[in-house]
Symmetry: C2
Subunit: 238 residues, 2 copies
């Protein structure tokens, strides 16, 4: 897949020129983000929760607990689906990821904005039940938290895997909206008295803080040192 | 108001000890965040969009365009509301703000997590129509983008105000969920071979980039220099 279809649901009603459907660019934003915001409908009203995610190919995995309200909602939706109607199985979700790149400080208050990259994925979430897929998804989630981390930590045992719920959202309907560059002031403001520009924003990592109960002699591993030295998340982490 | 009620809708089904209803702490998170994620229900399915917000007292203002899909949805909800039934007027929304404070790198993959502060506000959004309230809200939005910016830029004129839609969400039902501190590994993992700790995460500002068309001689103003020198968003910005 190289491009997502521009459906009515993923076409913005304004500023359409900011919308991008190219899969590689959509994936890059999903991969760079530390968290996503997961939207569901509960009793007819919206609920949005921060969630840890990871992408593998064109599937988005969402990390949760098997005891959570959300896991129960998904189980409910799965039961309600007609047998064999795979298209409609799962809970309708909207997964949104936003990277803020800068404060856009225009001369006019009206043109103040943010530089950002935001991906909206609309689809259906179902539970990962296949053990091999669960392993793959959890590996991806740990690597998404920090690249190199899967090798630097203990994999889950059977009991832990049973207590983890991972949701699977095929990335079929997705779009990227973004803004970059300097403020877009009206011509009559450009000669005005106000300063205009962009204050760049980034997600920064600081020095690692070892656990207080860390066994003496265990050094900070290379993957953590690398991330701290880079000072932040590399673009296109996977 | 000093504490929000712990309603069924704002009480997490898991990890309840992470939920906080204290208004000042809820407000501090809303004030520190650069953006929120706004959830609505469209045709029975969830939609989550990044949005610029500002808080004034116990009201949350959401910045948009009067031509947007969202503004039309709100207008629709307002028309559908029974006259006089103020409680039910407006579009059901969920506004979620998340600040990521650290990557929690446990010895076990199962206990990997994030340190974060996340506020969920569930309520009804209506359009701001009173000109004085619109002024107040837009001032707050510009100050939320960057403190000191309202004085450093040109206020909106009548045409610009007409092209701006601000939504009003009274903060009645809100909760803060958070995690901080080191990883919580199981006792049997603590003596294991893996490093554990937290990699702190923050939102960082870099050097301001003046607009290419900036009139020569206009210096970077103090409020921008201050933000850049601070290197990031101060905690509790308002």
């Amino acid at each position: 897949m190289s491009e997502f279809p521009a459906t009515a649901r993923t076409t913005p009603t304004r500023l359409r020129e900011r919308a991008v459907y190219d899969a590689e660019r959509v994936f890059a934003v999903l991969d760079e983000a530390l968290i996503c915001h997961l939207g569901v409908v509960v009793d007819g009203e919206p609920l949005v929760l921060p969630t840890i995610h990871a992408r593998v190919g064109d599937v988005l995995y969402l990390h949760g607990s098997s005891g959570s309200h959300l896991a129960r909602l998904v189980a409910q939706a799965e039961r309600a689906a007609a047998p064999g109607s795979e298209v409609d199985a799962g809970l309708p979700v909207c997964v949104t990821v936003t990277l803020v790149d800068g404060l856009v400080l225009a001369r006019s208050q009206f043109h103040h904005s943010m530089n950002y990259r935001s991906v909206v994925v609309r689809g259906r979430a179902s539970r990962v039940t296949d053990p091999a897929e669960l392993d793959l998804a959890l590996h991806a989630v740990v690597e998404q938290v920090l690249r190199g981390r899967a090798e630097g930590s203990r994999p889950g045992d059977a009991k832990e895997l049973a207590g983890t719920s991972v949701l699977r959202v095929p990335i079929v309907e997705a779009s990227l909206k973004q803004r970059s560059g300097p403020p877009s002031d009206d011509p009559e403001d450009v000669a005005g008295p106000y300063w205009a520009g962009v204050l760049p924003v980034a997600t920064a990592f600081a020095e690692p803080q070892p656990s207080p109960d860390l066994t003496p002699g265990i050094a900070v591993p290379q993957h953590v040192l690398d991330a701290a030295a880079a000072g932040g998340r590399p673009t296109g982490v996977q």
